[in-house]
């Protein structure tokens, strides 16, 4: 079969791989490897995402890669991505200027279960880049603060230099209605705060297992330890929420790259409950 002519058949549904167009409205370097991109769809439409969802971003001629949406949907209009430079697409993005056009497919995947969190205590645990998707959730929780009971945020990073969103963090810290705590694995001379992994922050908390919904995003080692801790205080498995990262090539449950046993992270996740994952050996929890 040679591909030469356009099919005369049926409705010509467009490709699931055809992105919408977006442009870079603003760009802010957060530290040597991470940059915040503010994007807007060129047709003026809202992205319409839920916290925890992601988009596939195209730099045409270079490729496509998945990124969490970091802004809260409650802020509307524009949306934000926070991207670490690691390879082809992420490096190409850094070279793009204001007004440059990107492709965006999404929002994709299943986000955080806000309905489970509403009315309950929310315990957000971020490790490293995990703060990026959780920032979307934090924004929503702050904007709809009355819907949630106690709100606690634990954030751990490797070093003070790697800490993202420092201004926003200062604002979260200043709020009376949020218990925000941060720690770094290694301190530098300027650092006056906690030192140690994020698990050390958890140890100092008193959590009510009946009303607390822990939501965690971070590297695999963080999940291993924190899941153990929240289970130990008696939080049920189906109320422990985590978001996973896997290699993704399609974002729509076709290409097979993101599979964890029979589960597609791109489509069934990236947000899961611990109960959904604990029997999957490839989840590595």
């Amino acid at each position: 079969m040679v591909n030469t002519q356009t099919t005369p058949h049926g409705r010509l549904k467009q490709s699931p791989f055809l992105p919408d167009m977006a442009e870079i409205v603003r760009k802010e370097r957060l530290n040597p490897t991470e940059t915040l991109y503010v994007l807007r769809l060129t047709d003026g439409a809202e992205l319409g995402h839920a916290p925890g969802q992601f988009v596939e971003v195209s730099v045409f001629g270079v490729g496509e890669a998945p990124f969490s949406i970091s802004s809260s949907p409650t802020r509307g209009g524009e949306f934000e991505l926070c991207i670490r430079r690691v390879g082809d697409v992420t490096t190409a993005m850094e070279r793009l200027g204001i007004g440059a056009k990107l492709g965006v497919r999404g929002p994709l995947g299943r986000g955080f279960p806000l309905d489970v969190m509403r009315g309950n205590d929310v315990l957000i645990i971020a490790g490293g880049l995990g703060i990026v998707p959780l920032r979307s959730l934090i924004g929503t929780v702050i904007d709809e603060r009355a819907d949630f009971a106690e709100v606690t945020i634990l954030y751990g990073c490797k070093s003070p230099a790697e800490m993202l969103f420092k201004d926003e963090i200062a604002a979260w810290e200043a709020r009376e209605d949020i218990d925000f705590r941060v720690t770094t694995d290694i301190a530098d001379p300027s650092w006056k705060g906690n030192v140690g992994p994020v698990t050390t922050l958890f140890r100092r908390l008193t959590v009510n297992p009946k009303t607390t919904v822990p939501v965690m995003v971070g590297p695999p080692v963080m999940f291993k330890h924190v899941v153990k801790q929240v289970l130990a205080v008696g939080i049920p498995e189906d109320r422990i929420i985590l978001s996973l990262e896997r290699r993704m090539k399609c974002g729509i449950g076709e290409c097979g790259h993101c599979q964890i046993n029979g589960v597609y992270v791109c489509q069934d996740g990236p947000v899961f409950t611990y109960a959904e994952l604990k029997r999957l050996e490839e989840a590595m929890l």
Partner: protein, 345 residues
């Protein structure tokens, strides 16, 4: 629709006419092997062929397929590439028809993938029944894919000098009516068909020690089996098995620039879960690094995951992977050993 009977020579002549007018895709001999090719005359068609090295489904999902075309002229322009050529695919075996139906369930019914669907809709399928097993590797009977009941426009059964033609679509009816001397099947034809089927049913014996319906449970409870370690030590991670499998469809996506550097294509290309990079992420972490995990993943997709998601088996028992494997990893043995047959190291 009304079944017909055609003389073999008349059908061949009809195929020959078609091959001059449009794209006809059929099995041809290729040394000792067979492969599907676009033919220019019916002489090329290999009758009674063994399973082709590559399955016909790979023509709906080719090794390299453009998804998007993009160009920067005054402005960036991006368009989807949804193209297909009207094609008659002649001589598809039941196992391959079953594999195509699985791909339809995924790419058309579930994903509505226009790229695949365009080619699928432009294809006309002439199936041909198997009346005897092709070799020691095939186990279609055990995987429920020896008999084809759908997924074709017409289905041929070899009755000696004639073909019995089951007609399943209006396109199929038009096709068979264009064959000289095609006549409606009568009682005697149906009797001969039944005899052929009885012969077939006697010739194919079950090869798996486990019923197909129980494969998902068997695999689920075999997650800790030592067999995976044995297979992991043997397997070369070459990916030949996934390349030849009619139901394997995992892919990579990347951009290719044209020489003008002002235009290019986004393409999808075959990929294999047997390769270590397949599940590797930015931090250099591969989520299926040990080889035994990758082998286990493949067999779980074939006998469990795909079934759990789409209600159809991810393996049709064509035996291609076993024929292609340099170290003789054969799904029949794997499933039977999980069921309790002794493992030979």
């Amino acid at each position: 629709m009304i079944d017909r009977v055609v003389a073999k020579t008349d059908l061949i002549r009809s195929i020959d006419r078609l091959a001059h007018e449009q794209s006809v895709f059929a099995p041809v001999a290729n040394g000792p092997q067979f492969s599907f090719k676009v033919i220019s005359s019916a002489e090329e068609v290999a009758e009674g062929y063994l399973p082709t090295a590559l399955p016909p489904s790979k023509h709906l999902l080719p090794p390299r397929e453009a998804l998007l075309r993009f160009a920067w002229h005054d402005e960036l322009a991006v368009e989807p590439v949804i193209e297909a050529t009207e094609t008659v695919a002649f001589g598809l075996r039941p196992c391959d028809l079953h594999a195509l139906e699985l791909l339809d369930a995924i790419f058309v019914d579930d994903k509505d993938d226009g790229h695949y669907r365009a080619r699928r809709e432009a294809a006309f399928f002439v199936g041909i029944e198997c009346l005897e097993p092709c070799d020691d590797h095939c186990f279609c009977e055990s995987m429920g894919s020896l008999r084809a009941d759908s997924g074709f426009d017409v289905l041929l059964t070899d009755l000696g000098d004639t073909y019995y033609v089951r007609v399943e679509s209006t396109k199929g009816r038009d096709f068979v009516l264009a064959v000289d001397g095609a006549h409606e099947a009568v009682y005697e034809d149906r009797t001969r068909l039944r005899k052929a089927h009885e012969g077939r049913d006697a010739a194919f014996t079950p090869r798996l020690d486990v019923a197909m319906e129980h494969l998902p449970a068997l695999l689920a409870e075999s997650s800790d089996s030592l067999l995976w370690d044995v297979l992991g030590e043997k397997c070369l991670s070459c990916g030949a098995c996934t390349n030849v499998c009619p139901t394997c469809y995992c892919f990579d996506v990347r951009d290719e620039l044209n020489l003008d550097m002002k235009s290019g294509e986004r393409v999808r290309t075959w990929d294999s879960c047997q390769l270590e990079e397949f599940a590797m992420v930015g931090t250099g972490e591969s989520f299926r690094k040990p080889r035994e995990m990758r082998v286990k993943h493949r067999f779980n997709r074939k006998g469990r995951y795909i079934f759990e998601r789409y209600g159809r088996m991810g393996c049709v028992g064509c035996g291609r992977c076993a024929r292609a494997c340099l170290v003789d990893i054969d799904p029949v043995e794997v499933f039977n050993q999980l069921k309790g047959r002794p493992v030979e190291r």
